[in-house]
C-alpha cells in the first residue's frame, strides 16, 4: 500500500524548474532513499511534499488524499513530518520545549517524551538545555525527536549526516531501525551513497531534477548507481509505468 505517490511533479523557484516529470511511490513501512549531487532537486522535492513550496504541475497523493494544494501545516497534521536540512531548531526554546512544539498536531501514536528519551538517551540528558547551545550532532538528535513527536506516518529526513562527525552519524543511523519498527515510512535524502545503500529498501537517484534510476539496492550494481549519481549514463532499473518499483 502506497503512503505517498508523486505523479508527474514539476516544481522550482520562479522560472527555474528544479524537478521535472517526477513520479514515484513510497510504500508503508518503506525506507525510500533519494540520492543525488548538489542541485539535483532533492530538497525542492521534499519542500514540495511538505508544502513549503507550491508545485507548478503534477499531483501529490498522501494516504489516498490529493494534498497538492493543501497548506503546509495541514499536511503535517495529516501525518507528514520533516527533519529539515540544517536542523533548524527553535534556538530560544529548551530541548524539551522543542519536542513539545513537535507534538503540536496532537496525533496519537507511539512517540512521546518518554519513548523519544528511550530512543535517543542523549536528548533526555539535554532536555533542560537551550537548543541554541547544542553541538551539531545533539541538534540533529533533537530535530529527529521533534519530528517523531508528531507521530507521523511518513518522515522526511533531509541530509541528516551533513556536517556531523562520523561517530555521531553512526549513532543517528543506529536509531533508524527502531524508528522503522513503528511502521513509519521514511524518505531519506543523503549524499553519502555507501551509508544509504546499507539502510534503504529502495533507492532513487535524481539528476538535474529528473529521476534517472530507481530500484532496490540489492538489484542495482554500484556502477549503475554511481553513473546515475554523477550523470555518466541514464539508467532505468525495474520501474513500472507509474515510476514505482514492480
Amino acid at each position: 500500500m502506497s503512503v505517498l505517490e508523486i505523479k508527474n511533479l514539476r516544481a522550482g523557484y520562479g522560472d527555474l524548474v528544479a524537478v521535472s516529470d517526477l513520479s514515484f511511490a513510497v510504500q508503508q513501512g518503506e525506507l525510500f532513499a533519494l540520492v543525488g549531487a548538489n542541485g539535483a532537486g532533492k530538497s525542492t522535492l521534499l519542500k514540495s511534499i511538505v508544502g513549503s513550496m507550491s508545485v507548478k504541475s503534477g499531483t501529490i497523493i498522501f494516504k489516498d488524499d490529493d494534498i497538492t494544494t493543501v497548506a503546509d501545516y495541514k499536511r503535517i497534521q495529516a501525518g507528514i513530518s520533516l527533519v529539515p536540512e540544517g536542523r533548524r531548531l527553535f534556538t530560544s526554546l529548551s530541548v524539551e520545549e522543542n519536542l513539545l512544539v513537535g507534538a503540536a498536531t496532537g496525533r496519537k501514536g507511539p512517540w512521546n517524551l518518554k519513548s523519544i528519551f528511550e530512543l535517543l538517551p542523549i536528548v533526555e540528558k539535554l532536555k533542560d538545555r537551550n537548543a541554541g547551545r547544542l553541538s551539531g550532532g545533539e541538534q540533529q538528535a533533537v530535530a529527529i525527536g521533534r519530528s517523531l513527536m508528531s507521530n507521523p506516518d511518513l518522515i522526511l529526513l533531509d541530509e541528516i549526516s551533513l556536517g556531523l562527525a562520523p561517530i555521531v552519524v553512526e549513532q543517528i543511523y543506529a536509531a533508524l531501525p527502531d524508528i522503522r519498527n513503528e511502521g513509519l515510512s521514511i524518505i531519506l535524502v543523503e549524499q553519502d551513497l555507501s551509508r544509504t545503500l546499507k539502510v534503504a529498501d529502495k533507492i532513487a537517484c535524481l539528476l538535474e531534477g529528473h529521476l534517472v534510476l530507481e530500484g532496490r539496492p540489492s538489484d542495482l550494481t554500484h556502477q549503475q548507481i554511481t553513473d546515475a549519481y554523477f550523470g555518466h549514463s541514464i539508467a532505468s532499473f525495474g520501474t513500472s509505468s507509474n515510476g514505482a518499483n514492480s
Partner: protein, 290 residues
C-alpha cells in the same frame, strides 16, 4: 533628597512607559512587525474608555473590563484580515499598513470628537499619596500604575514561558516556517500575539489618559516615541528589559524636569541615543544573530 524624589517619580512613570512598550515588543518579537500605529492605537484605547464611560456611566477603572478585551479582538482581526495579507508582500507592506492606520486613527478622532481633550477621571486616587518623608511623596495612582505594569509583565512572561500558545509564539519568533512544519497554523499564533499586544496597549492608553487628565486625538504621536525608546533602551525580546527601559527613560525625564520643564523630552531622547550608540542591543537585550 530632591533627586531621590525624582528617581522615585521616574520609576513610577517608567512602569507606565513599560506597559505601553510591551505590545510593541511583542509585535516586533513574534511577528517582526514594526507597528507605527502603536501610539495612535493607545489613543484609540483611551477614546474607547471615554465612550464606555459616557454611555454606561461606569468609572474609568471598570471601563478596562470592556475596552481591554475589545481591543484584543480588534488586534486579532487587524492581524488576520489586514497585516497577515500584508506580510505576504514583504517586510515593507506591514510597515505601510501600520503607517496608514496611524494616519486614519487621529484624523477620524478629530472628525468624531474635535481636537478637545476628553476626560478620563481617576477618582479619589488622583489626589491621594503616600508621604514617605517631608520631601518624598509617592502618588497612589502612579504606584497603582506601576503595580499593574509589573503584574502584566509577569503574567505575560509566565504566559510565554509556560503555556502551549506562549511556546508557539517564541518558536514563531525563532522560525515561523519551521513552526508551520510542526503542524501549527502560524496565522492563528500571530493573531493571538497581536490581540495580546492590542490589549496591553489599550491598558497603557487608558492609564496615560488618566494620568494626563484625558485623551486627545494626537496623543499617540508622543506616546509611540516613548514606547519605541523604552523597547530600544531595555533591549528587544526581553520583557523585563522593557520594564528596566521604561524606568531608565522615566528617571531621565523626571531628573531633567528638575532643571527645566523643557528638558525632560530632550534628555529622554539623549539617553535613548546614548544606549543606541554604546549598547545597541539595549540594556538586557541579546545580540541578534541573523
Amino acid at each position: 533628597m530632591i533627586y531621590l524624589n525624582s528617581i522615585s517619580q521616574g520609576i513610577l512613570l517608567g512602569g507606565l512607559f513599560a506597559l505601553s512598550a510591551v505590545g510593541l515588543s511583542l509585535a516586533f518579537g513574534v511577528l517582526r512587525i514594526v507597528n507605527l500605529a502603536h501610539g495612535d492605537l493607545m489613543t484609540l484605547g483611551g477614546y474607547l474608555a471615554f465612550i464606555t464611560i459616557e454611555h454606561t456611566g461606569m468609572s474609568t477603572w471598570y471601563s478596562f473590563l470592556i475596552v481591554v478585551p475589545a481591543m484584543g479582538v480588534i488586534g486579532y482581526l487587524v492581524q488576520r484580515l489586514l497585516l497577515q495579507r500584508a506580510l505576504r508582500m514583504g517586510e515593507l507592506a506591514p510597515l505601510m499598513v501600520t503607517f496608514g492606520i496611524s494616519i486614519i486613527i487621529p484624523n477620524s478622532l478629530v472628525q468624531l470628537f474635535t481636537n478637545n481633550t476628553e476626560q478620563l477621571p481617576v477618582g479619589s486616587l488622583a489626589t491621594s499619596s503616600i508621604q514617605v518623608n517631608s520631601q518624598i511623596s509617592i502618588g497612589t495612582f502612579p504606584l497603582v500604575t506601576l503595580g499593574i505594569s509589573i503584574v502584566m509583565i509577569s503574567a505575560l512572561q509566565q504566559y510565554l514561558a509556560r503555556t502551549k500558545m506562549g511556546r508557539y509564539m517564541r518558536a514563531a519568533a525563532d522560525d515561523s516556517e519551521v513552526l508551520r512544519l510542526m503542524g501549527v497554523d502560524h496565522r492563528r499564533v500571530y493573531g493571538i500575539a497581536m490581540g495580546i499586544a492590542f490589549s496591553t496597549l489599550a491598558m497603557a492608553g487608558i492609564l496615560f489618559g488618566m494620568r494626563q487628565g484625558g485623551v486627545s486625538p494626537y496623543d499617540g504621536q508622543l506616546t509611540v516615541l516613548f514606547a519605541f525608546e523604552t523597547v530600544i533602551i531595555g533591549g528587544l525580546g526581553s520583557l523585563w528589559g522593557t520594564l528596566l527601559g521604561g524606568m531608565v527613560l522615566g528617571i531621565a525625564q523626571t531628573i531633567a524636569g528638575q532643571f527645566s520643564p523643557e528638558l525632560p523630552l530632550l534628555v529622554g531622547h539623549l539617553v535613548f541615543l546614548g544606549v543606541l550608540a554604546f549598547r545597541p542591543n539595549g540594556l538586557l537585550g541579546k545580540p541578534v544573530l541573523r
